[in-house]
Symmetry: C2
């Protein structure tokens, strides 16, 4: 393709999507190393081997750039295939949620939240909500409905408060205990709270 | 008593505990009206009709004064008498938790958290933890154990993850939905999540 030939010939003059990717990568690198307060548009531009104007043309502020970095960097929860029991299905989901928060963007997100002011925190929390909690709730509802059909979940369990419990426990234990959600914690959550709550 | 005669004679020269009370009242008044950022030790002293030195002598910084105001101002959860079922007992507990957060100090605490920086937020969250979540967890454990003895709670339910669920749901829904926990929300939490989770 012409694009890649051009890139090979002149690595400093990349096309749109490729340059955007380089900027986002450089910004995630900066976030992970120097953090939110010390991140600068100049530093990101330098990391991406481009000019400051190329960054500002796409993201008018540091906050908008960082929202995009976190949004684009957070792995998707994906689908959960049927493992034959609601216990196993929801266990897999919790492992995925934990892994999203342990991803490079997830770690950066938590560090940023620990460092930024309240107004920015609200925007960054929106990224967790849209990127993790909302899809998790949708998935949980699907898995609960699958369990109702299968017969290992009570028929009235596909309800809002019920689907909140797993994300609520993730948020609470992270805040209160600074928990990292090791595998035994996930097993406890599933066996002590989730499965009893859902059984027919 | 000599103390009260003295106060009546010279209202501006109150004794220790009385003056402390006046300073804490004035500080809560300031927090509730102008908020954390605009609160000043001078303003608090003026509100308590005393001098700035009298405030600083007791609390060397604004943060320490505010921690004390919130700590002292948050109503206690108290005891929950036996209402004959775990459903009713935990329902009462949730109503109390909601009422603590709706108290004047509870509202001030939430407003302060929304306004202050991260380092202060950690200290103020400590007040919620010590003043609300920790006593709530202790009470929940007692009520669950009462239910086990009564026979309307499964015998292995008095466990850490289980006692986290109510405070976790309070925190999550407040953060994510800005929920004010109206009575029907509490009923949903109890009937959809808590009672199913605990039934034998």
């Amino acid at each position: 393709m012409t694009g890649s030939r051009w890139s090979e010939a002149a690595p400093g003059r990349r096309r749109g999507p490729e340059l955007e990717r380089a900027i986002l990568d450089a910004a995630l690198e900066q976030l992970s190393t120097v953090g939110w307060n010390a991140l600068t548009m100049e530093g990101v531009a330098a990391g991406a081997r481009t000019g400051k104007a190329a960054v500002y043309r796409r993201w008018p502020s540091k906050a908008e750039l960082v929202v995009e970095v976190l949004r684009a960097g957070l792995p998707s929860l994906g689908e959960i295939e049927d493992h034959g029991s609601v216990r196993e299905d929801l266990h897999r989901l919790c492992v995925r949620m934990r892994d999203v928060m342990r991803s490079r963007a997830g770690e950066a997100l938590r560090a940023v939240l620990h460092e930024c002011d309240h107004i920015h925190a609200d925007r960054f929390r929106g990224v967790i909500w849209k990127g993790l909690h909302e899809p998790a709730q949708d998935l949980i509802r699907d898995l609960v409905e699958r369990g109702i059909k299968r017969g290992d979940v009570r028929v009235d369990a596909a309800a809002p408060f019920v689907t909140d419990v797993i994300p609520a426990m993730f948020m609470y234990r992270a805040k209160v205990y600074g928990s990292e959600w090791e595998d035994p914690d996930i097993a406890e959550l599933i066996d002590r709270v989730v499965v009893p709550m859902l059984r027919p």
